[in-house]
């Protein structure tokens, strides 16, 4: 089995790669690649992303990878992380950027001046370990507790236009979708590669996943 981690210059690729290697018990071949053909031929695809969405979209296009991402997300087990997940939606408020449009909906910024129920101010970026509440059953949740904490760092969040696209929520202070997906696609706002045991468990489940739900 070949797993392609897409390298378009916009991710903490070292960490993503190492986290996959840490749970690669089955001995899959894991490659970091900027080559669209390698992505298209891979059995599974991991699509990381960090930084600003306009830059990510520009770099993705500059590397000629947008079509390979769309094609992969249409047919094989596909894991998006952070901006790699946001790019799957139609549009982002960040720099008024069009996304890949695989999923209907957009990416919105957290409002300024947020407070929690106790009146405590909530900072943006939403940075740190927050709870992830599973809203649909999914094979990738095997061995992951409902309400488990994962590591987030982001100022923009998914606002999918179809309720069925959201697989899990977090709270800041309102509920927001933090995992989106359908069929063979699973995409997290949080960083699995930085979420210690729970993050590694999700990645381990992905390596074993056949892409059906």
């Amino acid at each position: 089995m070949k797993v392609a981690v897409i390298d378009y210059g916009m991710g903490n690729l070292h960490s993503v790669l190492k986290s996959i290697e840490a749970v690669n018990d089955a001995g899959a071949e894991v490659v970091l690649t900027s080559d669209p053909d390698v992505v298209i031929r891979a059995d599974k695809v991991v699509f990381p992303g960090q930084g600003a969405m306009p830059d990510c979209m520009r770099e993705l296009n500059a590397h000629g990878l947008a079509e390979a991402v769309r094609e992969s997300a249409a047919q094989k087990p596909f894991f998006g992380i952070c901006v790699g997940a946001q790019l799957l939606l139609e549009h982002s408020e960040e720099g008024d950027t069009p996304g890949l449009g695989l999923f209907r909906g957009e990416v919105k910024r957290f409002a300024r001046g947020l407070t929690d129920a106790q009146g405590e101010r909530l900072k943006v970026p939403h940075m740190g370990w927050n709870r992830v509440f599973q809203t649909q059953a999914h094979p990738l949740f095997a061995g992951v507790d409902d309400g488990e904490r994962f590591y987030f760092v982001h100022s923009y969040y998914f606002a999918p236009a179809e309720a069925g696209l959201s697989l899990a929520d977090s709270e800041y202070p309102e509920r927001f979708s933090c995992i989106i997906g359908r069929d063979n696609v699973f995409a997290t706002q949080f960083h699995t590669e930085k979420s210690h045991r729970a993050g590694l468990q999700l990645m381990k489940n992905f390596l074993a996943w056949d892409g059906t739900v």
Partner: protein, 255 residues
Amino acid sequence: MALAKRIIPCLDVTAGRVVKGVNFEGLRDAGDPVDIARRYNDEGADELTFLDITASSDDRDLILHVIESVASQVFIPLTVGGGVRRVDDIRRLLNAGADKVSINTSAVTNPDLVREAADRFGSQCIVVAIDAKAVTPENDRWEVFTHGGRNRTGLDAVEWARKMQAYGAGEILLTSMDRDGTKIGFNLSLTRAVSDAVDIPVIASGGVGNLQHLVDGVQQGHADAVLAASIFHFGEYTVREAKLAMQAAGIEVRL
């Protein structure tokens, strides 16, 4: 409030070893960085911060090897600071496996570095470290110091934090120079003044001697995260004990 307050052990690294001093002087050896990082990770640390305190630029690359080794084994966020002068220094640290890079003296001498770095790599990975010292006996005004606390800049610490946020910093690492290594607790007035002045998260640092100090940093200092070194390095407390103490005080933590 579901987001956990973070506990961040800090590892001062020189010549490939973790060391710890008092008031930025008198260094003691505290062990191998990879061993220490792994232990803190196992105890439930939320992040780790590495400060490269190497004086000579000849040895700068050593920190890259340390970060590479740690990042291959420890899957929590890693921040690295110390001697970051150019965009290329940041790129090399991120490529080695750092998730965030902390900029201190160079932010003062060249604020545009912060802006450039945030534009290039995203605000999420740019931390501005502020070393502040009270300049009034009433402890109600603080100035930014650089070069490990030797140089007074004349910059007001609260204003400086606001400016760095405007330049694209994603987080502030705030160290009280008066308190660092003293174990008498954070400078809570300073921490609260800075944390309340900005929208980005603030990490409190400098002065932790017991677990109540961590609680105070969050509850009175309004810190989003608390950083400590010696209480963890020398085995006085584990990270888990620190979290249990914070939880007992009503603070949300990740256990």
